[in-house]
């Protein structure tokens, strides 16, 4: 009885695994045949009607942006709840680690692209505020017995908080996501030093050399032309500015990879259906992760765009990678 139960369980697992493989193979088979025909179209069509991937589907490039917009429009309301459910809260740790690696000092300007609901921007402002308080405490501790001269100079330079104020700009192409982010900011009572801008990562509405730090967390895989987004990042950063990217990447450990695949393809669309009522958007999400280049390839793309000292750190065994580069 126990043996036949084990057999049943094994068959069910094999069935689901085969379905993942067949779906993946079917997906690559589909995109293979489609990209084959599309490359023929490339040669014959003068207007360059190229196609790209949308998850495991192949769609024309002009359509990808529209479909991605629709996906995030649908999931915006339940975005944060779903993030917590899908990653079991670990996404908060990933974002905290990004901030720790960033270690921003008071006075820097941050641009968070594809910032949507504002997770990175809120953490940034909190971090900078705690840094500021720490600095004030340190200053207070070192001047415990001030002379009259010191007190009078302190009074005259009291509004030096002005130039020290940090600013965070949240830029996103999707208005729904920004709306949710603004609502969060209002309910948290955060407004100082925060602005919300609608913009396309491939064509940012900012002048050159504006920002000290550029971050893009879990957004760059949705961009149609990643190289253009990287070039824009280089453009808007000040010399000495830092580019930081959090993104899902390739898991190196084979056992963990298998578990991660099973969890992604079996569990996440189900969670999407039950919590957000939207299976297809979350199917797109797990498929788009598989289509994104791995750590080394992405590092090469960042270097090609013109960044220096490009490094990456794997988080949670490679599920997420934190890439960083400098504009010199």
């Amino acid at each position: 009885m126990a043996a036949s139960m084990r057999l049943l369980v094994r068959r069910v697992l094999r069935l689901s695994h085969r379905n993942i493989n067949v779906a993946a193979a079917g997906g690559s088979g589909r995109s293979g045949c489609c990209s084959g025909s599309s490359s023929c179209r490339c040669f014959s069509d003068a207007t360059g009607d190229r196609s790209t991937h949308f998850g495991f589907e192949t769609v024309p490039e002009t359509e990808k942006a529209k479909r991605v917009y629709k996906v995030f429009e649908n999931v915006a309301q339940k975005y944060d709840v779903m993030n917590d459910a899908m990653s079991l809260g670990i996404h908060r740790v990933w974002k905290d680690m990004l901030l720790h690696a960033m270690h921003p000092q008071p006075g820097v300007r941050l641009l968070d692209v594809a910032g949507g609901t504002g997770d990175i921007a809120f953490r940034f402002l909190e971090y900078v505020q705690s840094q500021q308080e720490r600095q004030k405490r340190r200053a207070a501790r070192s001047t415990q017995t001030p002379s009259w001269q010191d007190i009078s100079t302190n009074y005259s330079t009291e509004d030096k908080d002005g130039p020290q104020e940090s600013k965070a700009v949240v830029c996103d192409i999707n208005k729904e996501m920004l709306k949710v982010g603004k609502q969060k900011a209002d309910s948290m009572g955060v407004s100082a030093g925060l602005s919300w801008v609608v913009g396309d990562a491939e064509e940012l509405p900012f002048d050159d050399d504006q920002f000290d730090i550029y971050t893009i967390a879990f957004g760059i895989r949705n961009v149609t032309h990643i190289d253009q987004a990287l070039q824009e990042a280089l453009r808007v950063l000040k010399p000495g500015g830092r580019f930081m990217c959090l993104e899902f990447s390739k898991v190196t450990n084979p056992v963990l990879a298998r578990l991660y695949d099973t969890y992604s393809f079996q569990m996440i669309p189900v969670l999407g259906e039950v919590i957000a009522g939207d299976w297809k958007s979350y199917q797109y999400l797990v498929e788009s992760i598989r289509k994104f280049p791995d750590q080394e390839e992405f590092k090469g793309m960042i270097e090609d765009a013109g960044f220096y000292c490009v490094h990456y750190h794997n988080l949670t065994g490679g599920v997420v990678a934190l890439h960083s580069g400098f504009k010199l």
Binding site: V12, L13, Q266, E273, V274
Partner: protein, 275 residues
């Protein structure tokens, strides 16, 4: 018993492979630029392929979500689709054995506002099925277009049977004379559970009464409940009736033809106070 289950899984695996290769074929046929919603991946528009594990997770998840928030009709729908395979096969076979049901399976009518001729139905005499149905829609402020599409049934014909069951639900309210308040819905669920054997109906029938107050519970257990169960069991299969061609028929005649007794208690739609 375990050997049968193993054989069942083998058959399922074969069907799964056939399904996925069919889906790939459908996609290849439609892989042109401007990929719109008119082209679909799967056996019918809106079909989403799922593995047995996903179906099990969906069943559990949708059950929990529906219990926590009964207004999530999409979760009730998903629960019905993921748990109703055997009952749907039973229903489909019953329809096939009935001449009118067979016609429905071949012609595949859909009940939508766009397919109903409302002005003609309003002009029908009182007591006719069409007129009473329209009155029911108006009194309870419902529309036949609010039914979710079927997504997780892996057979095109069974998906249609499920869709038909959802669309016939409102007509059933009219046939049984039940309004859309909690008591009326529970009575209809008891009837449906006895008729169709869908696990989702059975679950609704068991959990629905928990939200009723004591006087309604009494009414349910003494008169409405037994009436609904008895009639559910002995009536003709309600999915096998071509309602779209019977608007002019007198409601009482239709009830007699289906072997349904008129309700023992007249519930009014104005009775919409919370239970």
């Amino acid at each position: 018993m375990s050997l049968c289950a193993v054989k069942g899984f083998q058959r399922l695996r074969q069907r799964q492979c056939v399904l996925i290769s069919k889906a790939v074929c459908v996609h290849q046929l439609h892989s042109s630029p401007g990929f719109t919603d008119s082209c679909y991946d799967g056996l019918y528009p809106g079909h989403i392929q799922t593995t047995p594990i996903q179906k099990a997770l969906l069943a559990v998840g949708s059950g929990v979500a529906a219990l926590q928030n009964p207004y999530r009709h999409d979760m009730v729908a998903v629960l019905g689709e993921t748990t109703g395979h055997l009952a749907l096969i039973n229903l489909r076979d019953r329809m096939k054995n009935d001449p009118e049901g067979y016609t429905i399976l071949t012609e595949r009518p859909r009940i939508r506002l766009s397919t109903l001729d409302l002005s003609r139905m309003a002009s029908l005499p009182d007591g006719s099925f069409g007129r009473e149905y329209l009155r029911f829609l108006e009194d309870n402020h419902v529309t036949p277009d609010s039914r979710a599409d079927v997504k997780f049934v892996d057979n095109e014909e069974l998906a249609y049977v499920m869709q038909r069951y959802r669309e016939v639900h409102d007509l059933l309210h009219t046939l049984l004379g039940m309004p859309t308040n909690m008591l009326g819905e529970v009575a209809v669920k008891w009837f449906e559970a006895a008729q169709t054997g869908l696990p989702m109906c059975a679950l609704g029938a068991v959990l629905g009464p928990l939200r009723l107050n004591s006087s309604r519970l009494q009414s349910l257990f003494t008169s409405l409940g037994p009436w609904a169960l008895q009639n559910g069991r002995r009536s003709r299969c309600i999915l096998s009736i071509f309602y779209e061609r019977r608007w002019e028929q007198n409601l009482e005649d239709l009830r007699q033809e289906l072997n349904i007794e008129p309700p023992p208690v007249i519930l009014s739609a104005a009775n919409k106070r919370s239970t």
